[in-house]
Symmetry: C2
Subunit: 181 residues, 2 copies
């Protein structure tokens, strides 16, 4: 098992922190191996930002994502820029409001109102990255729900635990609702 | 030019954030390429934590650090655990108080009271990672002082900019003092 995830959005949307939390969920709480990385080339000066996580049952010798299982794109720019390397049958998760033009391909695409859930349901746009983690974990089942919850609670600022727990649950619920519809 | 840096310490000492800031200094403010990564194996459940940064003028095809130019170790456990792969003539930076037993080898070793500077001079232990960045940049000159300052200020919580700027300067000054002695 080797599972590659790329998280992308605008700078300031917390994609690096989301990647760190996901890797820690896998490695510290679920007893798997994980790597988390950012690479910055000339595109680092643009508006889109990405972070990558690889999770495996075995040692990870090659820590670069090249055959992506799941891409999260919170903005159109991020979607256009980082769709490359998503597997033909990979999972594409995009924000309903900010990604209107879907890329060509036969990806399993899920549109989820991630930013809207963060803003209207939780009341804080800043937790959109944690809502996104709930969505990703519910769709991929790459880490357990208890592992992601523990990892979120260990990383978020003290005093914001309840808010972030709600954000995570709201992301998970959004997927369960999608699957029922 | 390819420069590999490994930042290590105890969990909670902010090594990942320090790595992200250093990579952003190089890529966003100094126009170089950079990667920043963590890999977690079975050792992720221990007390020591590391983060790696590679900075290059060219594309970085292999993002794993294997021939390290500079190792920072803020604790003895981190020093013992992460000294492997430091180049024979590489730079080793350790905390004066927490690393008492230096590893065998002919590294260029610098002992700097990083935690003490953070606690006593700046008044907040939590900025030890930013003091460490000042030390690293002053020793390696791998990014410019203005780039690291901009990158620190862009990443730290609003309202803590002045504190963090002081912490960075204190790290830089500590090296200048060492070099004069």
């Amino acid at each position: 098992m080797r599972y590659e995830i790329r998280l992308s959005g605008a700078g300031g949307q917390g994609m690096i922190l989301a990647g760190v939390i996901l890797a820690e969920a896998a490695a510290i709480y679920d007893d798997k191996n994980a790597t988390q990385s950012q690479s910055y080339g000339p595109e680092a000066r643009g508006g889109a930002s990405k972070s990558e996580v690889i999770i495996s049952d075995e040692d990870i010798y090659y820590p670069k994502a090249t055959n992506i299982d799941l891409l999260l794109a919170l903005t159109q720019e991020a979607c256009d820029k980082y769709i490359h390397d998503l597997k033909p049958d990979g999972i594409l998760v995009v924000d309903t409001d900010l990604v209107q033009k879907l890329p060509d391909g036969k990806f399993k695409t899920y549109t989820v109102p991630i930013l809207n859930i963060a803003q209207d349901k939780i009341g804080k746009m800043i937790v959109a990255n944690i809502v996104a983690l709930g969505v990703i974990v519910a769709l991929s089942e790459v880490v357990s729900e208890s592992a992601i919850e523990n990892a979120v609670l260990a990383r978020v600022p003290r005093g914001t635990e309840e808010l972030n727990r709600k954000a995570l649950k709201a992301g998970i619920e959004a997927v369960k609702k999608l699957k029922k519809d």
